[in-house]
Amino acid sequence: MALDSKIPAGDLQQKWEDYKNHVKLVNPSNKRKLEIIVVGTGLAGSSAAATLAELGYKVKAFCYQDSPRRAHSIAAQGGINAAKNYKNDGDSVYRLFYDTIKGGDFRAREANVYRLAEVSVNIIDQCVAQGVPFAREYGGLLDNRSFGGAQVSRTFYARGQTGQQLLIGAYQALERQIGLGNVQMYSRHEMLDVVTIDGKARGIIARDLVTGKLERHFGHAVLLCTGGYGNVFFLSTNAMGCNVTAAWKAYKRGAYFGNPCYTQIHPTCIPVSGEYQSKLTLMSESLRNDGRVWVPKTQEDAKAIREGRKKPTDIAEDARDYYLERKYPSYGNLAPRDISSRAAKEACDDGRGVGESGLAVYLDFADAIKRLGKHVIEERYGNLFDMYSHITAEDPYSVPMRIYPAVHYTMGGLWVDYDLMTTVPGLYALGEANFSDHGANRLGASALMQGLADGYFVIPYTIGAYLSGEIFTKAIPTDHPAFVEAENHVQTTLNNLLSIQGTKSVDQYHKELGKIMWDYCGMARTAEGLTKARDMVRKLRAEFWQNVRVTGKADELNQDLEKAQRVADFMELGELMIVDALERNESCGGHFRVEFQEEGEAKRNDDTYAYVAAWEFKGIENNPVMHKEELKFEEVKLATRSYK
């Protein structure tokens, strides 16, 4: 099937306006008859479910957590970008658009990104109206700060808990609709398959995680707002339950998967401390507003620190290498994430890493505390500093933080057109679950923006284009053979997992998979390593299906089984990521191929690779087929991405 991105004609600045003026509408009495399933209740899912219900559609929302408020958007710390230009510092919709395209290393779709920048201003208005307590100045107006990859202050924030506050805003809007009876909420439910009838998405199979019972749910349209797949690496900043299952089932039912290899490794996370480590904790990018990143200039000093003979405060100012400030003077410590992460890796590979393992660099606030006073730093980042000291038992006010890059976000995801529809009609993907707006690297404070843009301001319009053609479709009874087939398929998979009764636990397999992915498909990738890794993942997957041990039964609350089916999907996804990374013979954003670099910087190949790789499933033992969406840049001139 040829890809049609359905980008509207006309000037970039006019596309969305024209689209809204002409997209088909669904009248209120018809909306009442149309049912929409929303899977996932993070920023994208909650905002979509609430808004669609406000419009009058019948909505069913699902989340695996015990409450929709717990989705992992809640953990986003730093902020949300918007082109409000409240600071009068030269910001504009165009600049936010340009920064996002450039930040994404020219691998995102212009029209989508422009729309994102346009609606960013509405998001802030909406959130404030809902009561999101953004930080304010003494005059009562909203405060802003800077984030990576931008030279203006356009990031709105609520202390170090911006994601929490935005999600609670969306959650409250969702609960309001639940209270009004417009949304039926299914917490502790996990979607385990998409049901398609005559080529269209018509519902899902979900497992009630308390009783273990499988349920069939019909919808005229299905929205997947299920987040990213960073947990394929086992260790990441994602919540423990984050998974690829919903997106993966959609892929296996015909939705193409876009750019699976684009992974964001966040530069400032608390380093790994031991084998038992279950997840990694992010320290917000906002800290780089005031913190300075450094390692010792010499390997000797670094070694002395690692062995406990010297403390960071023993290293004199001129013996420190503030390498981001040195290499990228115009952005300094606020260089984008992919670049900052690679620079940290280089410093550690050079033997200048600190911490017991040597896999850490310093993030130092001494200068800022001297300049602004401790109380200002405490007000800005207090909760982050507390979190750091809980975990490490060190006081970051007096000792610099130790940080190291960790998997944080996945730019890849289900391929969607301008309407956010996947290649399966009626099946949509919103937020991190889609591939669309961040290209090969996402800028800080842009994930919250995209999640809410998709949910509040994009899908409520674009879904009309599809549902206006569905007003004569009556609800399909769930005893339809397609529902029966899908449910049987899920049941068989769960039974298989439980019947293997092998010798290794799910977590053991997950850790092994994660290590392969991190070593060969992480911050630095080579064709040789990827080729080897593909083979390793295939072998591991085969072993998993022979030898995993899953305890308990299917018809009960069984967290071991939940994990097992998620890891089973990661085992398949891992291979697709590797295939995609192998195919892309260039370095761009979060995808760094060692063979393609110039003076240590990523070397893009625009002549050959300025496209989105959209993969079609062809059976798990067969090679997937790649479809290309050529990226046409009409507004922006492709340039070497320099932050120097």
Binding site: S47, T51, D125, V128, A129, G131, L142, Q172, E175, A239
Partner: protein
């Protein structure tokens, strides 16, 4: 540094089954492990013996989602102040210690299995009125209404609640007043929240009562155990809001 510990953990097969405390010995626990990582290690050992792992709720493991919920040595989220269970590290315990782990106990939070409880009552309380009715698209410019910084900061203090339910678990009456008051305060402190403040206070309190949570008798155990430091001053504010609404409002809760 490692330690050997004895665990006494509440095991209960499902909501209907009887539960009991079961003892486990766990050796070579690193002081740098988080409490939940210690539970992971225990579960790996149970799985390797073919036994059912302990079910417990957890997700973000960075103290913000509010999912984790254990009652450790008689305290919600354990001995460390201002911390969730997932942010509690084993360095807070000593070699040879016996650690008792139970679910949050409250009539409003029925046990589902082992340490997992059903806290959906909190969602229903929010659905009853814990919001500002601002449908998408209705908003004016975000800077059109200046909000006094002190008010915005106080609203943020209250909005920091993670809805974990430690306040209920810590309270001898299983009262949900701290949770409800944090939401009422968050929205009442902001001008955007004023049009609905009477209706909100009445409706949320009515739902709280309907869910079977107890009364507040000012013991302040909730504030002491709250991982986010939500102040009991919010309860005083809720009482004022409720009283004011009851006296003045023409709308009575259904």
């Amino acid at each position: 540094m490692t330690m050997n510990i004895k665990l006494r953990i509440w095991r209960q097969a499902n909501a209907q089954a009887e539960g009991k405390l079961v003892e486990y010995q766990l050796n070579d626990v690193s002081a740098n492990m988080s409490f939940l990582e210690m539970m992971d290690v225990l579960n790996e050992q149970l799985i390797s013996k073919g036994e059912a792992p302990v079910a417990f709720d957890h997700d973000c493991r960075e103290g913000i989602c509010g999912t984790c919920s254990m009652y450790i040595n008689g305290r919600a989220h354990g001995p460390q102040k201002l911390s969730t269970t997932c942010q509690l590290y084993m360095r807070n315990f000593t070699d040879g210690e016996t650690i008792t782990i139970e679910p949050f106990r409250a009539k409003g939070f029925p046990v589902l299995k082992d340490l997992c409880v059903d806290r959906s009552a909190f969602d229903r309380i929010i659905a009853a009125g814990g919001y500002i009715s601002a449908s998408t698209g209705q908003a004016q410019d975000a800077n059109a209404i200046p909000v006094e910084k002190a008010a915005a900061d106080s609203a943020m203090d209250a909005a920091a609640c993670i809805g974990c339910g430690a306040c209920v678990a810590a309270c001898k009456n299983a009262s949900a007043m701290l949770f409800v008051s944090a939401k009422v305060s968050h929205l009442a402190l902001l001008p955007q929240g004023h049009p609905e403040r009477k209706k909100r206070a009445l409706a949320m309190v009515a739902q709280m009562d309907a869910e079977g949570f107890g009364s507040c008798t000012n013991t302040y155990a909730c504030e002491a155990e709250c991982p986010k430091g939500i102040s009991v001053a919010n309860i005083a504010r809720l009482n004022r809001e409720f009283l004011n609404a009851s006296l003045i409002s023409e709308e009575m809760p259904k």
